[in-house]
């Protein structure tokens, strides 16, 4: 029974059942949705003015940063083409709302109200406003299930933002802890370091913040690796809205004068070159 569900045979059964059970999910999520709607209706004018002003301020600040971003992006793209680097990440996002239903209490999963109908696919990265939250593991026509990065079954390739050191962040089953495993005792990682996605797994786009290191130590009597714990920067237990991201790794534009095979080998070479740079 259990062995079967590790394979793909039962996916069809699960999908069919889940689709027919969607009304139940919808009903269960209704009270909290209504409560929030009523809360929004009852806001006073003063509060709304206040919120409006705060949002405008934030918008102004973000736009100011955006201006510099645009020039940086064009520069980055130019440099990448100079290097002959292969990929470019075009991003499309979709905002989804969490369905507030209780799933298996000992797993770190959430349900969102967008599904196959909106083009959600298995393995799609999910972010909130601050950082990476998890990835889609099951899709139904109207909803999908997201596995959070803190689930014990989830691992995610990360990179220390300061030193470029690469590592794997494993979930612990606690909503606010990640464990960085298999780092040697002299690894260059400190408390307060920001971990970002390294993009190596091919699931998550590169360079999104994941977690902040809160403890780094070495206990020789317990294990020969360093014990490093980190706290996710995403608000995993408090977000109402999440972002579903489409990462389209577009193939490199083939240069007209070189034949295709040469282009791919050059690309492979440049890729491995980039990898070497990362390691240092």
């Amino acid at each position: 029974m259990i062995a079967d569900s590790r394979h793909q045979h039962l996916d069809f059964l699960r999908a069919t059942l889940a689709t027919s059970l969607y009304p139940l999910h919808y009903l269960a999520a209704l009270p909290s949705r209504l409560a929030r709607a009523i809360d929004g209706r009852l806001a006073t004018e003063g509060e709304l003015r206040e919120r409006n002003r705060a949002l405008q301020d934030e918008n102004l600040r973000l736009r100011a940063r955006m201006q510099t971003f645009q020039s940086l992006e064009t520069e980055n793209r130019r440099l990448r083409t100079l290097l002959g680097s292969s990929f470019q990440v075009g991003k499309r996002v979709l905002i989804a709302e969490l369905l507030e239903v209780e799933l298996d209490p000992f797993r770190q999963q959430v349900m969102v109200d967008k599904g196959l109908r909106d083009g959600v696919y298995k393995g799609q990265p999910v972010l909130d406003a601050n950082a990476v939250m998890g990835q889609v593991i099951r899709t139904n026509p109207l909803s999908s299930t997201v596995l959070l990065i803190t689930d014990p079954a989830h691992s995610l390739p990360v990179q220390v933002n300061r030193s470029g050191l690469r590592a794997i962040a494993d979930g612990t089953g606690l909503i606010n802890r990640l464990r960085i495993s298999h780092l040697p005792e002299d690894a260059d990682i400190r408390v307060g370091d920001l971990l970002v996605t390294s993009g190596l797994g091919g699931v998550f786009p590169r360079g999104y913040p994941v977690a902040r290191v809160i403890a780094a130590g070495f206990e020789p009597h317990r294990s020969q690796f360093a014990t490093v714990l980190a706290e996710p920067t995403a608000r995993l237990d408090r977000s109402h809205e999440v972002l579903l991201v489409w990462t389209e790794s577009t193939p490199p534009p083939a240069e007209p004068e070189t034949p295709n095979i040469a282009a791919t080998s050059a690309q492979a070479a440049s890729r491995s070159g980039v990898g070497d740079d990362d390691r240092e």
Binding site: I2, L21, L24, E102, F106, R107, R138, A153, G173
Partner: protein
């Protein structure tokens, strides 16, 4: 204790669906660990009062639906609820002869066994062992049993024909 009249066929379906709804209804954070095992309780009631109509297959089906709805491993709840249904059908004559508090205790034991098997399954699939809070729902469920049973019995009498 036994219900003399047979309730209509749709009643077990309706109550099990209601129990499923209560299982996934979001609760405030402090109340989360106390959530009773609604589905198991409802199932036990039907197995005890209608052992010839509701049995292991009901447990399996309801468990499978719970697995899907909660995103658990397919078969996890199906296994434990089948066991619950089997035990309650087997012990129905004995348990129905008990006074109310003794019934609650025996149901508590069945629910403890259900949690224990759940724990084994979690261990086998690589999940960390939860804290002692894990066992709290069995207590709230056992305390809830007399009231839930009374409520369902009234429902049976009201809806039965004649």
């Amino acid at each position: 204790m036994t219900t003399p009249t047979t309730p209509p066929r749709w009643l077990p379906f309706a109550t099990v669906t209601g129990a499923l709804f209560l299982t996934i209804l979001p609760l405030p954070f402090w109340a989360e660990p106390y959530r009773p095992q609604w589905l198991a309780l409802t199932l036990i009631f039907w197995c005890l009062t209608q052992p010839q109509r509701v049995g292991v297959f009901w447990g399996f089906g309801a468990g499978l639906i719970t697995d899907v709805i909660q995103g658990a491993l397919l078969g996890q709840n199906a296994l434990t609820l089948s066991l619950v249904a089997f035990l309650s059908v087997e012990l129905s004559r004995r348990i129905m002869a008990f006074p109310a508090w003794q019934q609650a205790v025996s149901i508590w034991l069945i629910l403890l066994l259900e949690r224990l098997i759940h724990l084994w399954l979690m261990g086998a699939t690589g999940y960390p062992t939860p804290s002692l809070v894990y066992w709290l729902p069995t207590l709230t469920s056992a305390l809830l049993w007399p009231w839930l049973a009374a409520l369902l019995r009234v429902l049976c009498l009201r809806t039965s024909p004649g």
